[in-house]
């Protein structure tokens, strides 16, 4: 019995260690994947903006990209495991504050997820004016978080 428990604990510890070390071993790959995720978010937002600007938006397109934003937004905090910040000596625009102010970071990310979900709801309703207004709200959450946690482009 004891041996089984010990074995289980050891297995769990190993698994946990392996899980943690995979991120630590290759922070560059994590940062790269994170970068790709953010490009998907930016691309989706741009596609919705393009539709809104076109004067004759295709509702199905708006809905597709709004759903993508709603799907991606809640995942955002998981793209920032410990050890994948600027201290790791990798190419990233993420500031160290992401990890030193985790509470504020999570709040900002959660605000984005909430507004992205509302965007999806607005898109599903087919109300383009509501989508436009909600895009502004989503954009504000992008900006709020980026101001604090993202290094400016040079």
């Amino acid at each position: 019995m004891n041996r089984m428990i010990l074995g289980a604990i050891a297995a769990l510890a190993l698994a946990g260690f392996a899980g943690a070390s995979s991120a630590e071993q290759n922070p560059a790959a994590v940062a790269q994947a994170r970068h790709e995720h953010f490009k998907q978010i930016g691309g989706a937002a741009k596609n919705i903006s393009d539709q809104l600007k076109s004067g004759k938006p295709v509702v199905s397109e708006v809905q597709m990209y709004a759903k993508r934003l709603d799907d991606l937004a809640p995942q955002l905090p998981s793209w920032f495991p410990a050890g994948t910040g600027p201290d790791a000596g990798i190419k990233t625009h993420a500031k160290a504050d992401v990890w030193t102010k985790p509470g504020e970071f999570k709040t900002d990310a959660a605000a984005f997820a909430v507004e992205a979900h509302k965007l999806n709801v607005a898109a599903l309703s087919g109300d383009i004016a509501a989508v436009g207004a909600q895009m502004t709200a989503v954009g504000k959450t992008c900006k709020t978080c980026h101001t604090t946690f993202r290094e400016k482009d040079d």
Binding site: G42, G43, G139, C142, H146, D153
Partner: protein
Amino acid sequence: METVPVPPAKASTVRVRIWDRPTRLFHWLIVVLIGLAWWTAQIGQMQWHKRLGYGIAGLLLFRLYWGLAGGSTARFSSFLKGPVTVARYAAGLFRRPSDIGPPGHNPMGGWSVAALLAVMGTVVGLGLFTVDVDGEESGPFADRISFDAGRVAAHWHHLLFNGLLALIGVHLFAIAFYAVVKRHNLLGAMITGQGRAGQGSQDVRPAGIWRLGVGMVLAAVFAVALGKGFKV
């Protein structure tokens, strides 16, 4: 009878009208608009930043037109000189006393103006395709390209703006150099239109009012069309 040796003649100059009103107005408007465009980008007022960009684009188009149809000193044909003339002028730059030439841009300054116009045009052109990092704000032509390409445009928009700042720095340095070393006030001429020029110089030949009207309409239509992304 003994002739008294004539003292070395001080380079003599005359005061003439150098710049026509539209050229001066263009100059100071673009100074203000570029300053405001920079500032609105800093504070994230992108709606105003874009409007200012369309205004700058309109002004640049006006200046190109004025370079073909404007007052004599504003015309490209009057101030874009060949490499030999430029090299000769550059070689004589430190010769004293001052050798003030005909009214208008000197052979080096002419190309400096051309470079400023070209870089300003490129910065504005890139801005039309620029996408911000959130994919939320973008130039009127950004819907024709991908998010990634729009980010590349943003990068160069920013980089070339720094290039523009460098050119403006050279421009200001040259004006200070002429004021201090050559005792030639260039700034005053761009404000009042009048200044010193070489002996025998004539006033600028201004272009007719109807030419000005055509240029202003062209610039306004262009700026508004850009704002609409050339969509009706």
